[in-house]
């Protein structure tokens, strides 16, 4: 295990140190550009709502994009909570910049709602709701996912209260002050934050699991007759974990490259551990895909084979291959080697490939489902529907919304410091560089 950056430990000696938000001026070219593209994305969304209200096919690519955000940006904060639950010391510098992604993810809710509204009736087709018909699927899914997003945002806010209260945050209105729980740092308040963040984190994981199961079934599986795969929600979740870690790696790399506030705290320790996680999830991805594929191939039930023809073998072959390479082939054969996992820039490169590949994977999973007309019945899908390529407005939509995500992230990171001051201090307090006899060694305290 690599040792932390000296600066991270040196904080202890600098009581004056305060985390600062990103220094991004409105005139910054990148920032402004992202803003314009984000506006374009919003316009595209409104146009789509106005023009094609409940034509499901026109929401195919937006849905794929939403699923992509669900598995990248909405999953990224998990790493923060997991390292917090397992007391992973390497995670201190990246917890906040991971948690910040829960705010951009919040916006993708705007895509979910209209596309949920276009779902056909549940009667006469397989669905997770069986006989139950009250407010499903639309309302139930919207509710679960909404809960999840709110929990994520609340968690992010909660864990950044100490910094906001102490830092030079430019929103000190009465509302803010109440949102900051009149933070004074009393023992009780600290206790509250610690326990609340733990439980909210666990809650968030569960909501993610249930919510993903719901939406992936209602907007994916149940729209293609004969596609019956119990592992599919899990596959979606795990590929999401991988993409989430990838997002964090890219964010970490970019921030430590361009922001002097963060650079000193990010080092090999983060690279090594994030790389390890990425490798683990890459392997798991393949495992979950294979567990799905080999069974369908072996049992050869016509209905399942037809579904596989659509998703993998025949109709959406190209997005599938692109996704497979991006999610598994390229990353696996790169990060299996230690030297790659020690270099943050290499990891960032691989992660970019993973994020893009993940998008292609979502396309091949949800575009056929959302654009499929013959949704009723159980039997094999015949004839196979044709492939739906994105048109210009789809592409503009995707580009605009991707930009919107980044834009919102930067905007938030300007206000809320992307590095968690109090947790950095805690980490510095719990770790000491000492010497054991003649050997250089790390001392880790594990408070219970």
């Amino acid at each position: 295990m690599a040792s932390p950056e000296p600066a991270a430990l040196a904080i202890k000696l600098r009581p004056s140190w305060k985390p600062k938000g990103l220094q991004v001026s409105n005139s910054n070219v990148v920032f402004a550009g992202l803003g314009l593209l984000a506006a374009l994305g919003l316009v595209m969304l409104i146009l789509r709502i106005v023009s094609s209200g409940d034509d499901r096919a026109s929401w195919a690519y937006p849905t794929a994009f939403f699923m992509w955000t669900l598995s990248t940006f909405a999953t990224a904060p998990l790493v923060a909570y997991v390292t917090r639950l397992t007391r992973g010391y390497w995670g201190y510098p990246i917890r906040r910049l991971a948690a910040l992604w829960s705010i951009p993810a919040l916006f993708s809710y705007l895509i979910l709602l209209p596309s949920l509204a276009t779902l056909p009736s549940l009667d006469g087709r397989a669905s997770l709701w069986f006989g139950f018909r009250f407010g499903v699927p639309g309302f139930a899914d919207a509710l679960t996912i909404g809960f999840m997003f709110v929990t994520g945002a609340a968690l992010m806010w909660l864990t950044s209260i100490p910094d906001l209260a102490s830092g030079d945050v430019r929103l000190k209105s009465p509302i803010t002050r109440s949102l900051l729980m009149n933070w004074r740092g009393t023992t009780k308040q600290w206790l509250l934050i610690r326990s609340a963040s733990k439980y909210l984190g666990a809650f968030y994981v569960m909501l993610l699991a249930i919510g993903t199961t719901q939406v992936t079934t209602d907007m994916g599986q149940s729209l293609i007759p004969g596609w019956r795969s119990g592992i599919f929600p899990l596959y979606h979740i795990v590929t999401g974990f991988q993409a989430g870690v990838a997002v964090i790696i890219v964010t970490t790399y970019l921030l430590q490259k361009f922001s002097p506030n963060i650079r000193p705290f990010i080092g090999q320790e983060q690279a090594v551990n994030l790389g390890r996680l990425l490798l683990a999830f890459t392997l798991l991805d393949f495992y979950f895909f294979w567990a799905d594929y080999v069974l369908i191939w072996y049992a050869g039930l016509p209905s399942e084979i037809a579904a596989m023809q659509v998703l993998i073998a025949d109709v959406y072959r190209i997005p599938f291959i692109a996704g497979a390479f991006g999610i598994f082939v390229i990353p696996f054969f790169a990060i299996i080697f230690n030297p790659v996992r020690r270099r943050l820039w290499a990891l960032a490169l691989i992660s970019t490939i993973i994020i893009i590949g993940n998008f292609f994977d979502r396309v091949r999973l949800f575009v056929p489902a959302m654009s499929n007309e013959k949704v009723f019945g159980h039997g094999p899908l015949s004839p196979l529907p044709g492939v739906v390529w994105p048109n210009v407005s789809d592409i503009l939509f995707i580009v605009g919304w991707a930009a919107l995500m980044a834009f919102v992230y930067l905007a938030v990171a300007r206000r809320i410091p992307a590095i968690s001051g109090w947790e950095m201090r805690e980490g510095a307090m719990l770790r000491q560089e000492t010497h054991f006899e003649r050997g250089h060694i790390m001392l880790l305290a594990k408070p219970e």
């Binding site: 072996y298 049992a299 050869g300 039930l301 016509p302 209905s303 084979i305 159980h378 039997g379």
Partner: protein, 272 residues
């Protein structure tokens, strides 16, 4: 889901594909290849008389099923008549469904055998090689028609029958799986005879014991690749369907549904 499909254009089309359509040349027939042995079962004609069951029992040296064997559900019968009751007592109807090995093209039983004990031969028969079988019984689990039977003990016959076994058929020892072979011994004999008399195996030359014994000609055996055989005719009829079609096993046994207009699927009421 119902396993008995109403005869739609789709099922007719499927039946056509079963029949294969293409005729085969004299040479192929002389070579003995190019057959796809199949059977058609006309539910409309079946009276449930069990003659086929007995015939099969004697032809293939299947051990006698005493009462105890039946009660403990270990009775071996390569072909069985499934009986489903329909309606309530005063006007209850019995529906009969003869089930035998379907000799599937995509047989679920074949690939799961670790010892190659069962495989698909070039005439489309799902053959069981007794001396390769090691008794894992995986094939019996995989078979959706439950037509594979396990020998829990060495077969025994009363002395009167000991010397009346069919010499063309192996007596299966304990610990192995056995099942319907479409009376492969008769197929081979017919081919030998044809070869000796320098003719070809014509439709109707071969008849397995069950077909031979069927009093109502509900069972018909023949070559599905021969477009003029009775079986192909049946396969092309708009009454044709396959058992458990949704499993995609591609059976060689074609069932002809009851003509009775208000017939309901024999497998929709459970625990018959």
């Amino acid at each position: 889901m119902s396993s008995i499909k109403s005869a739609t254009d789709e099922s007719a089309a499927r039946a056509a594909t079963v029949a294969g359509g293409a005729t085969i040349s004299e040479e192929e027939r002389r070579a003995g290849f190019g057959h796809r042995w199949g059977m058609s079962v006309d539910i409309d004609l079946c009276t449930g008389c069990q003659a086929c069951v007995v015939a099969c029992q004697t032809e293939n040296n299947v051990a006698i099923n005493e009462e105890q064997r039946v009660t403990e559900k270990r009775a071996k019968s390569w072909i069985r008549i499934e009986r489903y009751w329909e309606g309530e007592f005063p006007n209850a109807k019995a529906r009969y469904l003869p089930v035998l090995c379907q000799h599937c093209d995509n047989a679920p039983c074949e690939p799961v055998c670790p010892a190659w004990a069962t495989y698909h031969n070039e005439e489309g028969l799902n053959v069981q090689v007794y001396n390769r079988c090691i008794g894992t019984r995986f094939c019996a689990n995989g078979c959706p028609y439950s037509v594979r039977h396990f020998n829990f003990w060495n077969p025994e016959w009363p002395d009167s029958l000991e010397n009346m076994l069919n010499p063309d058929v192996t007596v299966r020892t304990k610990g192995i799986i056995e099942k319907c072979t479409f009376c492969v011994q008769r197929i081979n004999r017919a081919r030998r005879d044809a070869a000796q008399s320098d003719t070809v195996v014509k439709d109707g030359d071969i008849s397995p014991a069950c077909v031979q014994a069927c009093p109502t000609n509900s069972l018909v055996f023949g070559d599905l690749k021969d477009p003029f055989s009775k079986v192909s005719e049946a396969a092309n009829s708009d009454r044709a369907y396959h058992l458990l079609e949704e499993r995609g096993t591609g059976p060689a046994v074609v069932y002809l549904k009851k003509v009775d207009p208000n017939a309901t699927s024999s497998s929709e009421e459970h625990h018959g």
